[in-house]
Structure formats: C-alpha cells, structure tokens
C-alpha cells in the first residue's frame, strides 16, 4: 500500500453540505429513465418497444457498433416511452415502474465477461483512452477503482457503500480475471479498504484526487496503445453483488446538496429515478431561479425538475442560477465576499478561499483567448502540459494531442481548471470533442 500525496488542485468549500448522517426512506418515483448520453461511446439500438414489460436487469438497448454492450433497466415495470430529439437521437428511455421489485436472475456460473455485459454493469465502467464505455475487444492493462469522490459537496462513498463493502472482494476477484495486470483501489486518507485483493493506494490532497484519471496518472500512466478500465467503488460493489447473488441491484443512496435544498440530506433511491420524487418539498422556496444539477457542480448535468438522476451520479446539487442580478462593475469589486481563488480579488486577505461559500451559475466574465499561464496546471495533478494539450485539441493536431497525453485524460479531469479559468473556456467540451474526434480518426 502506497501513500501518494498530491499538491495541485483545490477543495472548493461550497455551502449546502449535509449535516446529518441519517438516510431518508425511498419515495417511489413515478418514472425512471436511462439516459443514453451517460454512456459515452454507446449508440443505442432499442431491444424493447414501448409497452413491453421489463424486469430490473432486463436489456433495454444495445450498442449499434457492438451488440454485446447492453444497457439494462434499473427497475421492473413497463417501457413507457423512448424520447427522441433532433435526427431521432434517443434522449431518454423511460420506464414506468410496477413496484413489484421483479429482478432478472443471472447465472453466476456463466462467463464473467458475458455476465457483466448482459447485466448492464459493463456499461457502468469507463475505459481510457477516450473516456468511453469499454470496448469488448481490448483486454485492459490494469483496472482502477476509486473509493472516493473529491468533488465539491460530493457524498462519502463509504457512507453510500454501507454493508455492500463486503462484495468488493468478489468484485476484485472477478475483475482480476479480465486483466493481465493489477486491480488498483484508490482510497482517501480516512477510509482505507484492505483485504479486497486489490492493490490499495491512499491519496492525500485536494480535488481532483478522487478522479480515477488522476490516480492512474500518479500510479501508472496510460501509454499509447494501452487500455485501462476505471470504475468507482459503488459499481465495483454492484459487480460483486451480481456474482454473489445473481441479481443486479441499482438501488443507491443519493446525496441532496447545495444552497437550493432546504435541508441537505441523504435519500434512498434507485438509479434513473425522476428528480421530482427526490426534490419535491425539499427545494428552498424563494423567488430565485434554481439550477438543478444531476451530479456535482463541476461535472454534473443541468436538469430541470422533470429530469432524472443520471447514471454515473449518486448526487444532486441545487444552486441559484443568479445570486445577484446586474451586479454593478463586479470586476472592480474590493468586497472580500466576492469569491475568487486568485489573489487579485480580496477573498484571500480574510482567509476566505477555504471558507464556506455560496456560488451561483454565473460565468463572471466573457470568453477570451488564453492569456494567463499555468492556471490549468495548478488544477491538474498530472504530468501533462494542460494548456498545450488544449491548444492541440482546438487546432486538432492529432500528432501533438497524442504526444501531449490525450490518452491519459477525460473531460472530468479538466473540470476544476474550467472553474478556475480566467478566459472562461469550455475545457470539458473541448476535451470531449477532442476525444471523440480522435476516436473517429483512430478507429
């Protein structure tokens, strides 16, 4: 077990943290949905038609390019609707629950890889390069499991895992059969999980220390031609549970956080549940417009109250869209309450950079060319020249992207840099587009 100290990054201390440890009971949602955009790299082809019955774990759709990759229903019920957008792109696959709790029984003796694919848990993992659902043809060099989420207001995965921690050993055993390398487990300082059979590393340092990509970069970076899988400890526990019990369990605990939530709390829920069931009666009622984020403030997806809990997240954040409208000459402010991590504002003079702060969704400036140097590097604990990589992506210089380490990164690794960026560039979008174009070019 190694202790790895990371210096770069920043822990944003946002208002709206959960104060009590108790977990509220599950309120049954009217609807559940699977959002295909959550499974990067998978183009959905429907297996079920609206009106058909599905059990939890039944296949809803498969990947157009690789039909072995399947996405399954989180609950039992009836496939109600396939919501389509422009050019018939599938936006959501909606299931009306029957609340019978019917769950598909899998044969635990079957081939582990096929079982993972069939149960839909395969699609919950990610691979580097490209930050997509793992392709079925490549054998990963190593598998990295992260045991913590270091994003602002993120819940403790220890808390979410609870008793399911006992399944981790089984998960590591199964995953070990799929790689010639090792299964690594990245833990925070206050929560080390031993005896799983995985190689455990402890990470000390600010966000993004919990990102699998950052952990890989500091343990054994991804090289050209290599494939590495990443997943979080919750998905790992689900895998373990599947191989122990033969059933796939998409239930979870969800953290409701942020200044827009009346009393931030934990709630039992199931993946894909409608936000209405989670947030009704829990939102702060004032005249300010609220931004509901499925996930954390850095990488989460903007949703409205009619939206759903996106698959990779066990976290909802609600913040104000705008705290103060038409702020007069905000750029000239000397008020230490005007939050900035930089010293050209006065927050740092009163030690306010690490104090609790209520941030809204305002851009606080216009998009500009990159002027200041080193801003991205300060937020990215990897041996990568982030700014040069971003420029290579913008100019779509494939050779340079490759040389500068595009295979090692995912959009989420740049999220904190995007928050801190004085030039207000959409770094995650740029990286995502770069990865997609790169993949189209290489495959």
């Amino acid at each position: 077990m190694a202790l790895i100290k990371l210096k770069r990054g920043f822990d944003l201390n946002l208002k709206g943290q959960i104060k009590q440890e108790s977990v509220a009971d599950e309120t049954v949602a009217q609807r559940y949905a699977v959002i295909p955009d959550d499974f990067a790299g998978v183009i959905p082809r429907m297996d079920k038609k609206p009106g058909e019955h599905v059990a939890a774990g039944d296949v809803l759709y498969h990947d157009k390019n690789d039909e072995k990759i399947k996405v399954t229903s989180p609950v039992s019920g009836t496939l109600a609707e396939v919501v389509r957008g422009d050019r018939r792109k599938i936006l959501a696959v909606v299931v009306d629950p029957d609340n019978k709790g019917e769950s598909k029984a899998f044969d635990t003796r079957s081939n582990p890889k096929e079982l993972l694919l069939e149960s839909g848990l395969w699609a919950m993992m990610r691979q580097r390069p490209y930050d997509i659902v793992p392709t079925t043809d490549a054998r990963p060099r190593d598998i990295f499991i992260t045991a913590f989420d270091s994003a602002p207001l993120a819940p403790s995965l220890k808390m979410l895992l609870g008793d399911d921690e006992k399944y981790l050993g089984k998960a590591v055993e199964v995953l070990s059969t799929m790689t010639d390398g090792k299964v690594y487990l990245g833990c925070p300082k206050d929560y080390t999980i031993d005896d799983t059979g995985a190689e455990t590393n402890t990470f000390v340092g600010p966000h993004p220390a919990g990102n699998a990509g950052v952990q890989i970069a500091n343990v054994k970076p991804v090289n050209k031609g290599e494939v590495v899988w990443t997943l979080d400890v919750i998905t790992a526990a689900r895998i373990g549970k599947l191989f122990e019990t033969g059933q796939v369990d998409f239930s979870t605990i969800v953290a409701l956080t942020g200044t827009g939530i009346d009393t931030p709390c934990y709630v039992r829920a199931t993946m894909g549940c409608s936000l209405k069931s989670l947030l009704e009666d829990r939102l702060v009622s004032d005249d300010k417009e609220k931004r509901i984020i499925s996930g954390n403030v850095l990488t989460g997806v903007k949703e409205n109250i009619e939206g759903y809990l996106h698959a990779p997240y066990r976290h909802i954040t609600v913040i104000n869209e705008i705290n103060k409208k038409d702020e007069f000459m905000g750029w000239a402010s000397l008020n230490p309450k005007k939050y900035s991590i930089y010293r050209d504002f006065t927050t740092w003079l009163i030690g306010g950079r690490h104090k609790e702060v209520d941030l809204d969704a305002k851009l606080n400036g216009g998009e500009r060319a990159i002027v200041l140097c080193g801003e991205y590097d300060r937020m990215l604990p990897m041996d990568i020249y982030a700014e040069f990589l971003i420029k290579a992506i913008i100019s779509f210089d494939i050779d340079k992207m490759e040389q500068l380490g595009i295979y090692e990164v995912a959009p989420e690794d740049f999220a904190l840099a995007e928050f801190a960026d004085t030039s207000k560039l959409e770094l995650q979008r740029i990286v995502r587009e770069g990865l997609d174009k790169m993949r189209a070019e290489m495959c």
Binding site: N223, K302, F328, F345, A361, V371, T422
Partner: protein, 391 residues
C-alpha cells in the same frame, strides 16, 4: 444603479441588429459588460465559475502601473522646472505640469488603440478585448515625453494593427504591443527618440510652466555614459529614487518595485520571469564590469547600477512578464527571463548605437519564447514516448 440599468436597457435596441446604431454593437456591449457583470450563466461544462476574469486581471496590471505613472508626472515637472531654472516651483506645480504634459499622450494612446480595437471587434462581431487597457497606459510611460503626438498616434496604430490585430487580437500576439510602438518610433524617427532633447520637456504645457533657453539639452544617464560624459551621471541612489531624465515610467526604481509588489502579490505576473531577468542582468552586468574597458564606457557601471539605470527594471517588471508574449512553461520562464536580462545589458554595454538594450532584449526574446517552450514541452513528450517504449 437602477436608473443606469434602465437607461442601458432603453438604448439597447438601437444597437441591436436593425437598429440605427447597429454598427456600434460591440461598443455598446463593451460598455454594458464594463458597467454590469453580465447575467449570462454557464451553458455547458462546469456550473460555477471563479469571479476572476480578463477585466479584473488587466485592471490589476493598470493599478500596478499607477505608482510609475504618478511618479512620472511628478518627475516630468521636476525636470522641466530644473531645465528652465525655476527653483521656487512647488511639488504640486511640478505634478500639475507633468499631468498636463502626459495627459495628451495618454488620451492619444487610448483613443487610437481602443478605436482600432472597437473597429476590429465590430468587424469580427466579437466582444471587445481588454488587452489594450494595459498597453494604452504602458505606451505613455515608455515613449519619450517630447515625442510629437502624431508620431505616437501613428506608432500606436501600427503596433495595434500589425503586432496584434492581424494575429487575432489579445492573447494571440507574438510581440509585446507596447514595445512594438516604442520600437516603431525608435527606428522610424530616431532623431526624435534619442539624443539630448527627447527626454526633458523644456517648453510649456498648455501654457503652464515656462520655456527653457534655446538649445537646452539634457541627456539620460545612459546617454551620458555612452558619450563618455561620465561626470554628468547621477549616483545610483538618485537613479533608485528616480528624479533623473528618462522615459516617463522608467526612472524610479521605487515606483517600479511597488508595481512589482502588486503584480507578485496578486499573482498576475510570473515571479520566475521577474527574478530571472534581474539575475540575468546582474550576471551580465558583473561580467561586463569585470572586463570593463574605456572602449565601452557602460561597462564601467557596477552591476547594481546597471539594474537601476535606464529601462531595465521597468522592462523586467512590466514587459518581460507579459504572459502572452513570454515563455509559458515554468522552466521556460527561467530561461526566457535570464536571457532578457543578459541581452539587455549586452546590448547596452557593447553596442555603441543603442545606449539602452531592454526594449530590444524583450522583443528578441519574445521571438524566441515559443522555441523555448517547444523545447521544454518536447522534454515532456520524450518522457511520455520513452515510458511507452519501456512497456
């Protein structure tokens, strides 16, 4: 503020497409975002953003230049009244004279530069960029006070168009725009830019002050050194305080150091660049002093004096640290800064044609900054490729 907001909302339709003043859309947008932080919220990616933006960054640099600007005004008055022999002028009179002398230059610099920026922004339908806020105040500080205003206007226009706009605007330029202005003047109108008459305003400003006797001349210390008039050279302490002739902003080491402190505390300028420019200057100054010979009179100056005279310190603090035109990697910044320091003193000491080398040193290294970064980044790339092969 509400009435102002109402007023802005009221006139907005005129500036939008189809309005009478649609051609001034960028100007309106610039004014609006200047007055009110835009209410736009993030569309994709992160949902929260830091308060820091380009306006704040640029205005902080302008603030760091204020000590130099205020001192420059005082010193111009001081030198003027000294030149006309009026020993009874008060401090306020000196300052007022300097203010009146500098104001037209500041107005011309901003009017020409921002005018071109506005036109450029309108043609490209982009927001107005803030870069010229800093350039516009740097120009009056580095252009000799006796430069005719039309020359300043032509040089500013040349620099903004050919050193910045054609490259794509703020953040895209290769050379420091303010220094290109200075270099344009230096090479296009050499007689006005150097010699004995450029640096002290000997005639009145808007009728204020007096006129010196005909044929009054006063060279800068480095000019005196270059012409071997060593007896006229002020002490290093005088140069540190700054009541000596020279380009307006460059004379006072004290004012420059205050500016440096602001830039370093706010974290806007790179301490690596600043430190290594001074280190390079000291090293080259020591070397030149060690090999001093009367053939090159500037080599007689001790290394510390080299840093205090001329534009060296101003260039180190405000020009070399321009992040856009300098090296952007940490290791690159050390090399870039050190070489600026070395070249500035090298040119100053061993090139008889140029009594000051800071401007040329920064511009030269601006050209080499991408190469330095290339080498540093290449080392990272090599490391990555080696790692891949080792597998």
């Amino acid at each position: 503020m509400k009435s102002l907001r109402k007023f802005m909302d009221k006139i907005k339709p005129h500036f939008q497409e189809g309005g009478k003043l649609a051609k001034l859309e960028s100007v309106y947008d610039g004014m609006e975002t200047f007055l009110f932080t835009p209410n736009t919220t993030s569309r994709s990616g992160v949902h929260i953003h830091d308060s820091n933006d380009m306006k704040r960054t640029m205005i902080t640099v302008v603030v760091s230049l204020l000590p130099c600007l205020l001192f420059a005004m005082y010193n111009i008055g001081f030198q003027h009244f000294k030149a006309i022999g009026a020993t009874d002028a008060t401090h306020w009179e000196m300052f007022l004279f300097g203010l009146l002398a500098m104001l037209p230059v500041i107005v011309v610099s901003y009017a020409v530069g921002l005018g071109i920026e506005f036109i450029g922004a309108q043609i490209h339908h982009k927001e107005i960029q803030e870069g010229f806020l800093v350039t516009g105040i740097l120009i009056p500080l580095i252009v000799p006070i006796n430069t005719p205003l039309w020359m300043t206007a032509v040089a500013t226009a040349f620099a903004v168009i050919f050193a910045k706009e054609i490259f794509g605007g703020t953040g895209m330029n290769i050379f420091n725009v303010a220094l290109i202005t200075r270099a344009f003047l230096f090479f296009a109108y050499p007689s006005e830019m150097s010699g004995d008459r450029a640096f002290v305003k000997a005639d009145s400003a808007f009728g204020f002050g007096g006129d010196a006797v005909d044929g009054f001349t006063c060279a800068t210390p480095l000019g005196d050194i270059a012409t071997n008039a060593l007896d006229k050279v002020p002490s290093t302490l005088d140069a540190f305080v700054g009541l000596i002739p020279g380009s307006p902003g460059e004379t006072s080491m004290i004012a420059i150091l205050i500016g440096a402190a602001i830039l370093l505390i706010t974290g806007i300028a790179s301490w690596r660049v600043m430190l290594s420019v001074f280190a390079g200057g000291l090293a080259m100054g020591a070397l030149a002093h060690g090999l001093s010979t009367p053939t090159y009179p500037a080599s007689m100056l001790d290394p510390v004096a080299q840093l205090c005279f001329g534009g060296f310190a101003f260039a180190a603090v405000f020009m070399a640290t321009d992040p856009v035109t300098g090296a952007r990697t940490k290791i690159g910044q050390y090399i870039y800064g050190f070489l600026i320091g070395v070249f500035a003193i090298l040119i100053r000491v061993y090139n008889g044609g140029y009594p000051e080398g800071a401007m040329l040193a920064v511009l030269l290294m601006n050209a080499f900054a991408p190469l330095i970064d290339y080498c540093v980044v290449q080392a990272n790339i090599n490391r990555r490729q080696k790692r891949a092969k080792a597998q």
